[in-house]
Amino acid sequence: MVLLTRKIEFAASHVYNNPNLSAEENRRIFGKCNNPHGHGHNYTLEVTVEGEPDPVTGMVLDLKELKEILEREVMQRMDHRHLNYEVAELAGQIPTCENVARVIWQLLEPKITQGRLHRVRLYESPDLFADCYRNGANAAGKS
């Protein structure tokens, strides 16, 4: 099996606030991520696909096709958007790195038909990221 990873970047804003908690609790739990008007990040997304290289093309999947899937499913939905208000799949969820990574997995997984989605890694900053992968797979996703 070979792993192939493609990286894209997008910029988005978000705010962490749980309406079921008091203002004080929100402040205590989320700190500055609770600032009322939100804030933004340059996100880096690494999408790893697993599979066997096709004997004719030598490819696990056509990178051009993966690029188009990422453009359609992620960039058009999230780039230069507010994750709380403009991304329907995140409605009712706190748009943490963990939750956004899971939503991206759920968006991409059915669309990748050549090879199989192996891992989604979403960096909110160079020092903070979330990994989403199939239970039992290798999270390290050496690629």
Partner: protein, 146 residues
């Protein structure tokens, strides 16, 4: 769906420390041969990058596996305060009789972090320079995916 997926949280920290690779079990010549310039008597230093990976349930109320503020305090107390701007050989008890290679450093840091109470420590990765890094996920790898 959620049971089929696993989510991990990764966080990077940085610390600078010095070390000298020197084994009490080897002669001067052997130390020099095995460790090369890493055996130079007064040691040298690195800017280490520590990557901590946690897993657990994403709390629906917070969207988080663990609150980063809790993790930062824990890693600060357990590792950074004791390692940053220190000599690993002289200032960290574990390296009095163990060579402070980054392999051993990984094991030591893992031991210090595995008791984090809010989530499961999956693994740690330590980058010694931009060109080499080491990972450790504990010893109970039976049935794991590695």
């Amino acid at each position: 769906m959620n049971n089929a997926l696993k989510i991990e949280l990764g966080r990077r920290y940085r610390f600078s420390a010095s070390h000298r690779l020197h084994s009490l079990h080897l002669s001067e010549e052997e130390n020099c041969r095995v460790f090369g310039k890493c055996n130079n008597p007064h040691g040298h230093g690195h800017n280490y990058v520590l990557e901590v990976s946690l897993s657990g349930n994403v709390d629906p109320a917070t969207g988080m596996i663990a609150n980063l503020a809790d993790l930062d305090v824990f890693v600060g107390r357990q590792v950074l305060e004791e390692f940053d701007h220190k000599s690993l050989n002289e200032d960290v008890a574990a390296f009095r009789d163990r060579v402070p290679t980054t392999e051993n450093l990984c094991i030591e840091i893992y031991q210090r972090l595995k008791s984090f109470p809010k989530a499961k420590l999956e693994r740690i990765r330590v980058q010694e320079t931009g060109n080499n890094s080491f990972e450790y996920a504990g010893e109970d790898l039976e049935g794991d995916h590695r």
